[in-house]
């Protein structure tokens, strides 16, 4: 029982969330520069994160607010060559974050998911600061920063999920998925790190050659590299600072061999991409490459993305999630990858995480400017691990972890 006058009861949900993001997520160190990236609609959580970061000893908290309406005006009015232009001062800002080995807290949660829907899709797709995307790719691969991404509930997002702006319902769903419903969320995360970490260790011990998904519309073999390392929940910077890059997270994941994916796969959940919803996605792979894309809705968004660069059509991630996933248990589609990818098993085409490979960006590790996760798991999907000596071991049956 919490006394209404106790410090615990006086803390707002934003403060409790911020505490988790700063101490467990980004794990801000005393003396660190802290970079906060958010949309203007995220201000209540941004402010709480800022206060908590200073309490954790941040040397300076640099908050950068973005605004989709400003982006919309750019897409509508600016010259073609400015759509993907990076203002030099913003590139400097991104570089400073790497150079200073800053802690980073990035906030998602789209307040107006349909804002760009009436604009030409081709211009919307091109309107992103390419030099910043490349710079942050580099920083992630060099593991310079302890960072985290959290979702900020807002009315527009709730409207998209529930058909009504039920902000409290969304807050409760988010709090459940990030374990803020627990009496001691920090302890709950410690246990979670341990449990998923143990899964990653046991997969690494098995010396796997590939993962095999079978089910309705799916028969897919994803080849791994001998250097592929399974990871879960907790990551480490090159300097050894532990952090949790995504909150929530339920997956164990690794980087596949980009050359060795064969077969076909049917997506098991809708996918929100660039303001569109892709439904009934099916893909066929040959020699690692996506050679055929079909969907009931939104196939052109995927096809456009796959043409971005030469390596976009190869896999960069494979992740396993079982039925204990809190996101999966909500039964909700969040229309936000941070959440939806943690509902069930997923794979991603595009860039890989070098951290999940012994030796980093070696041959067979994909590098691309895109990275799109889509969901391929579920109760009807059987997942087997194939060891290097050819033995098949069941990993998932009816969403239950078999090891």
């Amino acid at each position: 029982v919490t006394d209404a006058g106790s410090p615990e009861a006086r803390r707002t949900r934003e403060e409790r969330y911020a505490e988790l993001a700063v101490h467990v997520g980004a794990n801000v160190q005393a003396g660190q520069l802290v970079d906060v990236i958010a949309r203007v609609e995220h201000a209540p959580v941004v402010r709480a994160v800022t206060r908590e970061a200073y309490r954790a000893g941040a040397s300076y908290v640099d908050v950068y607010y973005t605004d989709q309406h400003i982006r919309r005006a750019l897409i509508e009015h600016a010259a073609d060559e400015l759509l993907s232009w990076t203002p030099p001062w913003l590139l400097s800002r991104a570089k400073e974050v790497g150079r200073e080995r800053a802690a980073v807290v990035a906030l998602t949660g789209d307040a107006e998911p349909d804002l760009l829907a009436d604009l030409p899709g081709e211009r919307v797709g091109r309107a992103r600061m390419l030099e910043i995307a490349e710079e942050s790719n580099r920083q992630i691969n060099e593991r310079l920063n302890n960072w985290t991404v959290i979702g900020v509930p807002n009315e527009g997002w709730a409207q998209q999920m529930f058909g009504e702006p039920d902000l409290d319902r969304l807050w409760k769903a988010v709090e459940y998925t990030v374990r803020l419903d627990e009496d001691d969320p920090v302890a709950a995360w410690r246990a979670h790190v341990e449990r998923i970490g143990e899964r990653a260790r046991s997969l690494n011990d098995l010396q796997l050659d590939s993962i095999h998904f079978t089910g309705p519309g799916t028969d897919l073999r994803v080849g791994l590299l001998p250097e592929s390392r399974w990871q879960g929940v907790e990551s480490h910077t090159a300097q050894g600072i532990p952090y949790v890059a995504n909150m929530p997270t339920e997956e164990v994941f690794t980087t596949p061999d980009l050359r060795r994916t064969e077969g076909h796969v049917r997506s098991t959940r809708p996918l929100a991409l660039y303001g569109r919803i892709v439904k009934g996605l099916e893909m066929r792979f040959e020699g690692g490459r996506i050679v055929d894309v079909k969907a009931d809705e939104g196939a052109e968004v995927i096809e456009g993305q796959l043409e971005t660069d030469d390596t976009a059509a190869y896999l960069g991630e494979i992740a396993l999630v079982d039925g204990t996933s809190r996101i999966g248990k909500t039964g909700l589609t969040f229309f936000d990858t941070l959440f939806d990818e943690n509902a069930t098993c997923h794979i991603a085409y595009g860039s890989a995480y070098a951290e999940a490979v012994e030796g980093g960006v070696i041959e067979g590790v994909n590098v691309s400017t895109v990275h799109t996760d889509f969901m391929v798991g579920g109760a009807e999907i059987e997942v087997d691990a194939i060891t290097r000596d050819g033995t098949a071991l069941p990993l998932l049956r009816n969403d239950v972890w078999q090891l």
Partner: protein
């Protein structure tokens, strides 16, 4: 989904872009706004692109983030300017710039350590701004965004619509053709400035309740309206509204007693009944019914702070004055009536290097002295007295 636009807000933004900053085709445009002003920042962005802007860069600031820094951050954070902000500041040279005011939470910092609040300023960025101002390389303008917090400060209730009506009236947005109305308005203020320049007054004399004050003027300083020009000759109006003609006085010559006629919002406090006793150009004594300490500490902050940097004349035709409202926002209140500022002088009024004629200080605080009972005279070198204002009516031929 198309964006639903508020027609009045769009027209307001268009006025700020076309008349205020006077954005030139192909220019980069920098917008600085508080996050609570996002609707205005968005409208300004649209208007800037419509005016032919190349690229619009919006940086939002958040007073709560600043508060967290002042309250919980280390000392070094208070004056820190992130490297990228300096780079962005430098990029304003040759560009257009717009900033927004209208504090949604005027009391937000009032419970913090005043010394830390005073120190919390991005010093390097302010320095870049001062340099650009002196080099006249940016066409810029400031406009206010009506919001609930500000409306509550003004009216005691969050009547945003009432505040909007006052703002629309003051900025001539209520006119059928606001751009034409501004052209006429600035031409009238320019005529006044030209008149005053022809008369070559040696000093101004203020006489009224609690006031008997003479301040010297400089042969080197011109009277101006707020119709500014960049070094490239592009005209812009840095403040909307503006009703004043102003000059920089002789920092060595001021004598007497001058009393404020309206409350003044300063560093999170409200100063009422301010009275300054002035000897040989210096404020030597500060009295006030409320808040005297804030003014005293400001005047003590450096050498030039106790000398005067601006005199501005505003008559009863001022739309800000006509509203009868105290806005607790200098952008508005200084345009309600005649005002004077202690602290740094305005370099634009000098044709060449001002030398010692320009007061140097880190502060510049405008306070209102005009009221119907105040008489303002111009004094010529040969001893003539020429009435300028009586009963808030302009006395020189128009």
């Amino acid at each position: 989904m198309a964006v639903e636009l508020d027609e009045r807000l769009e027209r307001y933004a268009e006025l700020a872009v076309r008349v205020g900053a006077n954005v030139e085709e192909g220019q980069n445009v920098f917008i600085n706004a508080q996050i609570e002003h996002a609707p205005l920042a968005r409208a300004l962005t649209r208007a800037a692109y419509a005016a032919g802007a190349r690229y619009v860069d919006v940086t939002y600031r958040d007073q709560h983030v600043r508060k967290a820094m002042i309250e919980l951050g280390p000392d070094e954070a208070l004056t820190h300017t992130p490297g990228w902000m300096k780079e962005r500041g430098e990029a304003l040279a040759g560009a257009a710039s717009l900033w927004t005011t209208g504090d949604p939470e005027p009391e937000l910092l009032s419970d913090l350590d005043g010394a830390r609040v005073g120190r919390a300023q991005m010093k390097a960025l302010a320095e870049i701004g001062r340099r650009h101002m002196a080099e006249r390389v940016t066409n810029w303008s400031g406009v206010a965004y009506p919001n609930e917090g500000w409306a509550t400060e003004v009216f005691g209730e969050p009547d945003v619509e009432r505040l909007w009506e006052a703002v629309a009236f003051c900025t001539r947005l209520d006119e059928p053709d606001p751009v034409a109305a501004w052209r006429d308005h600035m031409a009238r203020l320019e005529t006044r400035a030209a008149q005053l320049n022809e008369l070559r007054f040696d000093a101004l004399h203020y006489r009224g309740p609690g006031t008997d004050f003479t301040i010297g003027l400089l042969p080197t300083a011109r009277w101006m309206s707020a119709l500014f020009r960049t070094s490239q000759g592009r005209e812009y109006v840095p403040n909307m509204p503006t009703e004043e003609v102003f000059t920089t006085p002789d920092p060595r010559r001021a004598e007497g007693t001058i009393s404020s006629s309206r409350p003044l919002a300063l560093l999170g406090e409200v100063i009422r009944g301010l009275r300054l006793i002035v000897r040989e150009g210096h404020v030597v004594e500060v009295e006030a019914d409320q808040g005297a300490d804030v003014v005293r500490s400001q005047i003590a902050s450096d050498d030039g702070a106790s000398r005067f940097g601006e005199v501005a004349l505003v008559d009863g035709t001022s739309r800000v004055g006509q509203t009868g409202i105290t806005f607790f926002e200098t952008l508005y209140d200084e345009n309600a009536t005649c005002h004077i500022a202690y602290g740094f002088g305005i370099p634009e009024v000098f044709d060449g290097d001002a030398g010692d004629d320009l007061n140097v200080s880190s502060v510049h605080t405008d306070f209102m002295v005009g009221r119907p009972e105040l008489e303002v005279d111009g004094l010529t070198k040969d001893g003539q007295t020429v009435p300028i204002l009586r009963n808030e009516t302009w006395q020189l031929p128009e």
